[in-house]
């Protein structure tokens, strides 16, 4: 096992990794920006090194600074957490060149899965169902019509260089397609200097479902079941749960086997997540792969009893999956996670500042992952996640009731948080029914406005 690990991250995930290391007897080195001098990840690591000024680009994203810190602290390995450098293949390569173990997949695989069309092709080859669409760029409106015929309406046209909804059009039939294609392409050319378009099947009311995997460095892959992450606002996940009400044991098993084969083929290792969309008929389509631990990994931990971060460390140290997970994976009960963000609960404006009161809920089946505390400060430079509140119950009903209880006991003063928003969502009939999709929040806000 590693002697000493540097955690190239901040906030709750840095503390999460530090805690896992401590429990395994591994020394920890925190790195921090000047804005995070009083953070708990700095306080609870064995060593801490300031690597730069507050801006991420000058500190947490500064590869030479992180590597230098790793060298002067003489660590064996770096855990990148999520976000920041976690899916930066160049960083993983520099680690390798510096003889420091990067705790994550090999950079070649990260790079491959980071390329959307390569990832699609790879998964298609391994018989993972992918979202039907054009294989790459569409030459003109005629090709668009042909693709649409093959994919089946409705389809969505997207700009290759796109983002933020620009250069994007939903087409419901062949008549309207040519005009929409040209509009979108022109819009994209104006906005991004690139009018290239591609096409995907459009799902009106998709659910977001993702599978957690672990893979060792000896070619063994294991699926740990799925998470449902359909409660999103502007593509930001707000609430995640495991298991999904839409995945039967049979489907879980089948998809697990398919995923296993696919990842064995590409030589994947460490933790990863395969993201799918599910259409209204319960059919599931691959959309992308995340080659890191995810924010919402905790719900999988709660229902499987497997510590994913410890598994990451053991895999990176060369252990085999068979020694890490010794019993068949079982899904027990139901877990839900709320992301508590330092944001105004209605306007969603970020709310940095000093926390004046902080009471964390506890008790049976309640888990809180946070690096915040009373008198702590939320700096304005980073993402707004200040805590994850995870509740585990015998079933979804109990988990939801537990969440309501825990939210009512979670006190944060001095800044705004999304706690009041979560309280409203957990009182919402559609949410409680479990029959929702990624458009849930839009309808929820409408209902809130009306009432």
């Amino acid at each position: 096992m590693f002697r000493k690990v540097l955690i190239a991250n901040r906030g709750e995930i840095a503390l999460r990794v530090i805690s896992a290391c401590k429990e395994m007897g591994i020394r920890t080195v925190a790195v921090y920006s000047e804005a995070d001098r009083n953070s708990l990840h700095v306080r609870f690591a064995d060593e801490a090194i300031c690597i730069g000024p507050p801006r991420s680009s000058d500190s947490y994203l500064n590869v030479p600074a992180v590597i230098s810190a790793a060298e002067i602290a003489d660590v064996d390995a770096i855990h990148p957490g999520y976000g920041l450098l976690s899916e930066n293949a160049n960083f993983a390569e520099v680690c390798r060149a510096s003889n420091i173990k990067f705790i994550g997949p090999p950079p070649e695989v990260t790079r491959m899965m980071g390329e959307k069309s390569t990832a699609r092709q790879t998964m298609k080859k391994a018989k993972v169902p992918i979202l039907p669409g054009s294989d790459g760029v569409i030459a003109d409106e005629n090709e668009a019509l042909e693709w649409a015929k093959e994919v089946g309406y409705p389809v969505i046209l997207k700009a290759v260089a796109g983002g933020g909804g620009r250069g994007m059009r939903i087409c419901r039939n062949a008549e309207e397609l040519p005009a929409l294609y040209n509009q979108a392409s022109t819009e994209a050319a104006n906005a991004f200097g690139n009018g290239d378009m591609y096409m995907e099947k459009f799902i009106e009311r998709p659910r977001h479902i993702e599978f957690q995997v672990l893979a060792d460095e000896h070619g063994n892959v294991m699926s740990l079941g799925e998470r449902e992450c359909s409660i999103q606002r502007r593509h930001q996940k707000l609430i995640e749960e495991a298991p999904s009400l839409m995945i039967t044991p049979k489907l879980r098993d089948e998809l697990g086997k398919t995923i296993k084969k696919a990842l064995e083929n590409i030589g994947y290792w460490n933790a990863g997540t395969i993201e799918f969309l599910m259409d209204e008929d319960g059919k599931i389509y691959f959309i992308e792969m995340n080659t890191r631990i995810q924010v919402e990994h905790c719900v999988t931990e709660m229902v499987t009893g497997i510590d994913l971060v410890k598994a990451q460390l053991r895999i990176a140290a060369g252990e085999k999956l068979s020694s890490i997970i010794t019993k068949p994976v079982e899904i027990r009960g139901h877990a839900i996670e709320c992301r508590i963000n330092a944001e105004h609960p209605e306007k969603f404006t970020p709310s940095a500042g000093k926390i004046t009161a902080f009471n964390v809920p506890g008790g049976n089946g309640v888990r809180v992952d946070t690096a915040q505390y009373a008198e702590g400060v939320v700096p304005p430079y980073y993402d707004s996640l200040i805590a994850k509140l995870i509740c585990h119950g015998a079933d979804r009903e109990e988990a939801m009731n537990k969440m309501q209880r825990a939210l009512s006991q979670f006190v944060v003063q001095g800044i705004h948080t999304t706690i009041p928003l979560h309280e409203k969502i957990f009182a919402d009939e559609e949410f409680r029914s479990g029959a929702f999709d990624t458009k849930f929040m839009e309808r929820f806000f409408e209902r809130q406005k009306e009432s």
Partner: protein
């Protein structure tokens, strides 16, 4: 002001800072104090301060100097105490290993008492096998070398104290 008084004053200043007081005047037969803090008070005042402080002391010798400033200001009006000298610290702009000389065995770039100019190389900080020359950002006399050669340094860590001229 004797040591005792200075301790009292330090306690007072810390207390005022902890309570986020911006200005403080006090007059007594034997003492007249006026304190005005520069800028905003320290973030994260109470809480884990003591533990934090000891960590800061250990890892970043720059911190105490920063605290010294308001004390000096406070002392001024009281009496003709010996002025506390404020030296300029040259800090490391990067994380790495500090070397006082260009190669092992070679003489140091600068020694105590040397007069240095802006842009003059004071030392090297090695990061990722690259030797980064650190230049002085002030002209003056080298009073103290804060970090020992071969020691790791973090971002913002003080390397030399220089009496600016």
């Amino acid at each position: 002001m004797d040591g005792n008084k200075l301790d009292e004053l330090r306690e007072l200043v810390e207390f005022l800072k902890a309570n986020e007081i911006a200005e403080f005047d006090m007059e007594r037969e034997d003492l007249k104090v006026r304190i005005k803090f520069a800028g905003e008070p320290a973030v994260g005042a109470p809480g884990f301060d003591m533990a934090q402080l000891s960590r800061l002391m250990a890892s970043a010798p720059a911190a105490p100097a920063q605290l010294a400033v308001p004390v000096a200001v406070a002392a001024e009006p009281v009496a003709a105490a010996a002025p506390v000298e404020v030296l300029h610290n040259v800090k490391s702009p990067i994380v790495g290993t500090f070397y006082e000389s260009p190669s092992p065995g070679a003489p140091a770039f600068v020694k105590i008492g040397d007069q240095v100019e802006v842009g003059q190389v004071l030392c090297i900080v090695e990061a990722m096998k690259l030797m980064n020359e650190i230049e002085s950002d002030v002209a003056g006399e080298v009073v103290r070398q804060i970090t020992a050669s071969g020691q790791p340094v973090e971002y913002g860590q003080a390397l030399f104290a220089i009496r600016a001229r």
